[in-house]
């Protein structure tokens, strides 16, 4: 126990796990490569899906990189960074999450032999940063602008971007169908950058082709009381009243108490309560609204009252849907029925209840402001629809970005090959170690077409060689050649309308490089013990498990604080 007597062996809190040096860096790289390997096979139109069974027992089937990364529950600190970049790509662009993880993994993999050979990571980082800047410039240079085209033309261009995204998803078989739907939805919400104005509703049953787009709002019939069926279910140009109050018989305020000295007054109090609710209902009717929606419950009294007066009502509409209706119809949500003026009422061309599968849907279409759209998704299994929803989300994001930035590049690995070629060419003009590093960066970029081939079952080496030859053509006519997923050969991606927004690539390269550089720049990990958790065991075994790297400070043998 004399170890206790040596203060310096506990420089850090007991249980702290530190590891340092090259071995640490290599182990970080290995962890990241392992993670990248998990999502590797999901890339591209022929990518495979992953079934993830989490600890709560729910099953997710997905090939969306971000979703998989999120569900993987990674604890390795370095590998966590990859999860972060996938998330960031998801929030910034919406698609290309697999690409970004794959690229980062590949950059690190290429860096590993250099690190093992004793290259200082900083040299690598510097070269990677230079390469990434060059690559970004090249992407911007190659990007084709779709600005200034007519709406029709633009629509078909955007649809192509959406189709490229969708082709790699589960619903790839119906990509044209969904692509045009997504484009219509995004165009409907206009330049107002508000994603939550596009609702996606899922109804199991039917097939994908039965999915449809509502130019307005649609939501599932809410819980209803007796009398609901007597209400009319279809209106032309109705006025719509949106409420945030309960239309139910209930105590007005929790903190009010009634004390009566005269029993005869009792009836008047009961009447008063009825008066209050009737008063409210009356005011709703008087406002001239034909459709009354409330975020809170509309009780059976209200339902019947409205039914008698040919008014449609729905209570317990989710807040999201209510806001969407408000935005679409131009109304505002009211917290009081007093003083309802005309301008707070919304309107739309057609309101109807429609049967979709075994669900009934309330559909508002032909809305004046038109700033909303709802996609009703149909399909077989729950998981299938879930995945379809994620795919549509990706496609929507892509179209939004494409609309905003208005530049596209050739997909199918074409742009990656072209950057790769450009960087290799550039590397030859550099004297010094940097040449090697930029070359390996260029090589790493080839992972995209290679993986596309691998996933599709083609001979990657063969296809890549063909691609390299095309891209190396002096005239530059081969710059748009990418993997042709249908024939197993190569084709001009641009001519075949395999397009993706430039911003996807820009962000992917940027994020992947940043992450790779970050991981390369770490030379030491210090893991403090979790507060209030007895994980001494784990830390102790970790400490014993690794070798020593620091200065010759032996003395007490195992008494060292590090490793």
């Amino acid at each position: 126990m004399s170890a206790m007597m040596q203060p310096q062996i506990i420089l850090l809190k007991e249980g702290t796990d530190t590891s340092q040096g090259k071995a640490q860096l290599v182990s970080n790289i290995n962890a990241c490569t392992a993670v990248a390997d998990v999502v590797r096979t999901t890339l591209g139109p022929r990518g495979m899906d992953k079934l993830i069974h989490d600890d709560k027992g729910s099953v997710t089937i997905s090939n969306d990189g971000a979703t998989i990364m999120k569900l993987l529950d990674i604890v390795h600190p370095a590998a966590k960074i990859l999860v972060d970049i996938a998330k960031s790509q998801d929030s910034e662009v919406g698609d290309g999450t697999t690409t970004v993880v794959l690229l980062a993994g590949e950059f690190l993999k290429e860096a590993k032999p250099f690190i093992e050979d004793g290259v200082h990571p900083q040299n690598l980082i510097r070269s990677y940063r230079i390469a990434s800047n060059l690559a970004l410039e090249k992407v911007k240079e190659l990007a084709v602008s779709i600005e200034g085209k007519s709406l029709e033309e633009k629509k078909s261009l955007l649809a192509k971007c959406a189709a490229t995204t969708l082709s790699s998803k589960l619903i790839g078989g119906e990509k044209e169908f969904f692509a045009s739907m997504v484009v219509d939805a995004v165009i409907a919400i206009g330049h107002e950058d508000r994603l939550n104005m596009i609702g996606i509703k899922k109804v199991p049953g039917g097939n994908m082709r039965d999915s449809f787009l509502v130019n307005g709002v649609a939501f599932k019939k809410t819980f209803s009381y007796a009398g609901f069926e007597q209400q009319p279910k279809k209106f032309l140009n109705p006025k719509i009243l949106l409420l945030n109050i309960e239309l139910e018989l209930k105590s007005e305020k929790e903190n009010a108490e009634i004390r009566l000295s005269d029993p005869s007054q009792y009836q008047s109090i009961v009447d008063a309560e009825w008066n209050i609710i009737y008063d409210k209902l009356d005011k709703c009717v008087q406002s001239g609204a034909k459709v009354v929606l409330s975020r809170l419950a509309i009780g059976d009294l209200g339902t019947q009252y409205f039914a008698d007066r040919d008014i449609f009502c729905a209570g317990r509409v989710t807040e999201e849907d209510l806001h969407r209706v408000a935005a679409a119809t131009g109304g505002t949500v009211q917290t009081s029925v007093n003083n309802v003026i005309d301008e707070v009422l919304g309107t739309c061309e057609l309101f109807e209840e429609r049967q979709v599968g075994n669900e009934r849907f309330n559909i508002f279409s032909g809305c004046p402001s038109g700033l909303t759209a709802t996609i009703v998704l149909r399909g077989g299994a729950d998981q299938f629809i879930e995945e379809a929803e994620r795919s549509l989300h990706d496609a929507i994001m892509i179209v939004r970005r494409a609309m905003k930035n208005s530049t596209v590049v050739a997909g199918g690995g074409a742009i990656d090959m072209e950057i790769s070629r450009y960087l290799r060419q550039h590397a030859r003009t550099i004297a010094g170690k940097s040449q090697l590093f930029i070359n390996s960066y260029a090589k790493a970029l080839e992972v995209i077409p290679r993986q596309l081939c691998d996933n599709a079952g083609f001979d990657a080496t063969d296809v890549l060689n063909k691609l390299r030859q095309k891209h190396a053509l002096q005239s530059g006519e081969g710059a748009n050649y990418g993997v042709d997923i249908n024939t197993g050969g190569i084709a001009d991606s641009f001519a075949n309308f395999v397009w993706e927004p430039a911003v996807v690539k820009i962000n992917a390269i940027n994020a992947a490089t940043e992450a790779a550089c970050l991981i390369l720049s770490v030379d030491e990990t210090v893991k403090n013990p979790k507060s209030e958790s007895a994980q001494g065991e784990a830390a102790a075994s970790a400490m014993g498990g690794r070798g020593r790297g620091g200065a010759g400070f032996r003395g007490r043998g195992r008494g060292m604080r590090r490793r």
């Binding site: 249980g15 940063r129 305020k253 004390r259 030491e524």
Partner: protein, 548 residues
């Protein structure tokens, strides 16, 4: 090393379980060892090419950084002597906000050299007196090294500011310093008050938004709040603002109260009057000319309803500090609660904004409050990056930059950076040591040698040959080029005035001073007595783990 003898005499005197260490070998050298170990950890993070550390703290939060202050803060250093170094670095961080790594590394180097002296047979007190003499001399020399003409600067001139914060930011984010520096400089200059000495670091805010890349980062004159507007109004321009600290709602009594209702009429009117009252409140705000209501707490649904009706934009800022900053940005006076129905908010209490808008950046809704003129006492650097750890690190770099700006507002003198100053100091202090007569000559000489640590680490971190660099630096300095430092990009020695790498004099001054102080403090200790920590058994178990 390896002398584990315990003084049994004193052991029997004290309660069981205490630790008692004394004498050169047991106390002084062990202390030095611990400090050295700490400085080895931070050493590789020094300078622009420094490596990052991944630190996972006890709350499982991951830090990826090369900012020494953060590293030692999260390391939870336990050793008492090493803690002194940590405190010194914290002092530096608080005083200047930058240069914490230099403090620890330099103190570590001083102690390592002291160890050699102790082994030679010098008494710690002689070393201390030598070190003290040396640091005093260093301070003198440092003053001589100050670049001519740097005493006065225009803190609003971007170029001048850039040249001074470059080195500080570059040491955190090498290769990206150009973008970051200009962001920091813009933000700082915008909020610089008339008297630069009153510059408040708190006025430069950082908003971190995931996604994009550093090149998407911007500076906003005003604030960026990571939330959405409460109501449906999302954009407003040139508006007056009313700020309420409390919630905007019908006032409720704090004490539990019950409303007694006696008749049916009262019941019917109960909610009506309440509604009318809130309407009156909101109307009185609207009548005062305010277009925006900012609430520090919840906004009641009823109140929100009337805000919508009167076309008022509603923001909720729950953090008290944010609210205070908001008031500073807009020049509003925060009102405790919604005014009572009769009094309108005082027009003087209203603030003014050029625009408030809700925008979506990288999938996150943010409220951007802009105030181009007038108040403009808060500016925000909007940082974009692909991961949280990168963003955190960028934020620290920005913080360092802002702190440097503050330091330069106080004292704008600069000294050559990139190890040029250190080599010059090493040379001059060495010369000074020859003039010393006593034993402290050795100590002073070692002190001078310690300066070599900086160029050595810088070169090593950059993957260069340290010895070669140092010798050529010495050669240059000996021939009178006192401004020659390392050009890390090309790996050669160059005149820093051509590279434009300047360190603030005040940063260097405090870093060296704190380091020397800390080193002397550690050396002064010759006995450590550690009482048995409370909850003894718990302690034993991990100690046993060391044995494992």
């Amino acid at each position: 090393m390896g002398l584990q003898m315990q003084s049994h005499g004193i052991q029997s005197m004290l309660k069981e379980g205490h630790k008692h260490l004394s004498g050169l070998d047991e106390a002084v050298l062990k202390n030095i060892g611990a400090c050295k170990a700490l400085s080895i950890i931070t050493g590789t993070s020094l300078g622009p090419n420094g490596m990052n550390k991944m630190v996972i703290n006890h709350l499982d939060k991951l830090f990826v950084t090369n900012d020494a202050a953060t590293i030692v803060n999260e390391l939870e250093v336990q050793h008492p002597a090493a803690k002194i170094l940590v405190l010194a670095s914290k002092a530096q961080q608080e005083e200047i906000g930058d240069g914490a790594n230099l403090t620890i590394s330099f103190a570590g180097e001083l102690l390592q050299n002291a160890e050699e002296l102790i082994r030679m047979g010098l008494h710690p007190s002689e070393i201390i007196s030598g070190y003290t003499k040396a640091i005093n001399k260093t301070v003198e020399i440092l003053e001589e090294l100050v670049e001519n003409g740097s005493e006065t600067m225009d803190v609003r001139n971007k170029d001048q500011v850039l040249s001074r914060i470059r080195a500080a930011v570059a040491s955190k984010q090498f290769g990206q310093e150009d973008i970051l520096c200009s962001l920091v400089a813009d933000a700082c200059i915008q909020v610089c008050p008339k008297n630069p000495a009153n510059f408040n670091v708190d006025n430069v805010r950082v908003a971190k938004l995931l996604g994009g890349g550093l090149h998407n980062s911007t500076v906003v004159r005003g604030m960026v709040l990571k939330s959405d507007a409460v109501g449906s109004l999302k954009q407003i321009e040139r508006a007056k603002v009313a700020v309420f600290v409390g919630g905007v709602d019908s006032s409720a009594t704090e004490t539990k109260g019950t409303v007694l209702i006696h008749s049916a009429e009262q019941l019917e009117n109960y909610s009506k009057t309440e509604e009318a009252k809130i309407e009156e409140l909101i109307r009185s705000v609207a009548d005062s000319g305010a277009k925006v209501i900012v609430s520090g707490a919840a906004v009641g649904e009823m109140a929100l309803h009337f805000c919508e009706r009167y076309k008022l934009m509603v923001l909720k800022i729950s953090s008290k500090f944010e609210l205070r900053r908001f008031c500073r940005t807009t020049g509003a006076v925060a009102m405790v609660a919604v005014p009572t129905s009769l009094t309108q908010p005082n027009p003087d209490d209203l603030g003014y904004v050029d625009s408030i808008s809700v925008e979506e950046i990288g999938g996150v809704r943010v409220i951007i409050v802009k105030n181009e003129e007038g108040g403009n006492s808060v500016s925000t650097v909007v940082l974009r990056g692909s991961t949280d750890s990168i963003l955190d690190d960028l934020e620290r770099a920005v913080d360092d930059g802002v702190n440097t700006y503050k330091a330069m507002c106080r004292d704008s003198r600069v000294v050559p950076g990139a190890a040029a100053t250190e080599i010059e100091l090493a040379k001059r202090v060495k010369e000074f040591s020859y003039k010393e007569t006593g034993l402290d000559q050795y100590a002073v000489a070692k002190f001078a040698e310690s300066f070599e640590m900086v160029p050595k680490t810088l070169a090593e971190n950059a993957g260069l040959n340290a010895m070669e660099i140092i010798s050529s630096l010495y050669a240059e300095h000996a021939s009178g080029n006192s401004k020659v430092g390392i050009d890390l990009k090309e790996g050669v020695c160059k005149d820093v005035s051509t590279l434009c790498v300047w360190d603030l004099y005040i940063t260097k001054f405090f870093a060296l001073k704190y380091a020397a102080d800390a080193a002397c403090t550690v050396l002064r200790v010759d006995q450590i007595i550690m009482a048995k920590p409370a909850g003894g058994p718990k302690r034993d178990q991990p100690a046993g783990m060391d044995e494992d």
